[in-house]
Symmetry: C2
Subunit: 221 residues, 2 copies
């Protein structure tokens, strides 16, 4: 618990379903969590709602730049359309920290067909934009928001974790475990090209098989 | 069995471990299988060895172009370095047929890091080279040759099947099942970008966790 309490996590875009789900799971596991949003008041209101839901005063809410300043580990959970702008708004605040980028670069309307973004992966684009002073880690792409909302729901999906920094990968794998999922070391950041793009394959499978929550498990480990 | 017997499968590069493993599994399930190789005599000798191993006269061997001519479904199992040249050598013979491309575009020595080929996926390159007259299907990327060699070994890995042609996907999913594995409809050919690239992630995982045969299972189906 001591280690958990020393880590301050900010979830930018934490008013969304995916970010809220992760934030609640961490908060309920003893981590200090800040909800960040472009709109600080909205973040504060959402944090209050989450505290009511959890029956405890565990999270706070504020604007993205303030949240990124106060945290020593930041999670980015925004739609791809807001990815670049959000990163620009917190670039300075992120220096020296770990950024967990959970963005899937889907390009509607054809989200079930792989369409690589210009930089091949959102996480590679983030690393290029932020520079080497930030340890970008990509994770959580294949977990649907619906599966995270109920903190007691067991998610039948492994979480693949990519980063150019081995220690950052290890730290994030621990955070994945704190959400009740299994984190797997998936290699350096270019491997996020495959991991992110694979989300479109899962969305295809959902439609082809008439299901809602296909996931992925790594076998043989 | 009637349907199996009407389908003549040629495995180009079938003297390699991966191609041999698939060919044996199909042959033992009642399919007629031809082993193709650049060197027709080598193919014939290899086919004879396989027949001895299986204790039955099930496969024949010949040069790639002859094999592709006689077959109505062709499997391409060559290293990426030989991918283009082999396709050029059988381009005419493949017209009107299904081609199962199992090529993973690994670029040694850094095979554990995703490095997309020029056309983003070997299967997309094959489709572009062969034209719309050939139904290119990609499959079997994540199954290691070592797992296929013993035809009775149960492979703990799903096979993701991509093609722009839905009927071809369905036909190949049936052929996957005949190898004892589960085939999954993974969508159109651009999705092979994610599926092929994911092989590097599995190779990374093998090394990171000190294992030999990581694989992938789709959950929620």
């Amino acid at each position: 618990m001591a280690e958990n309490q020393s880590l301050q996590i900010a979830v930018l875009g934490g008013t969304g379903k995916e970010g809220s789900g992760l934030a609640m799971r961490w908060a309920m596991n003893g981590y200090k969590v800040i909800i960040g949003s472009r709109d600080g008041e909205r973040a504060a209101a959402h944090a209050a709602e989450m505290n009511t839901k959890m029956g405890k005063n565990l999270v706070t809410g504020m604007g993205n730049p303030e949240a990124a300043t106060q945290a020593n580990l930041v999670v980015l959970s925004v739609p791809y359309a807001a990815h670049h702008a959000t990163l620009e708004s917190v670039k300075e605040q992120l220096q020296g920290k770990i950024l967990i980028d959970i963005t899937v670069p889907l390009q509607p309307p054809k989200v079930r067909t792989v369409h690589l973004p210009e930089g091949k992966a959102a996480a590679l684009e983030a690393q290029a934009l932020l520079g080497e002073g930030v340890k970008v880690v990509s994770a959580f792409h294949h977990v649907s928001a619906e599966q995270l909302v109920d903190p007691n729901h067991v998610v039948d999906c492994d979480v693949l974790v990519c980063s150019n920094d081995a220690e950052a990968r290890a730290a994030v794998i621990k955070l994945v475990e704190a959400t009740g999922m299994k984190g797997i070391d998936a290699g350096s950041l270019p491997n996020s090209i495959a991991v992110e793009a694979f989300t479109s394959v899962l969305l295809w499978i959902n439609k082809a098989y008439g299901i809602k929550q296909s996931g992925i498990r790594i076998t043989g480990i």
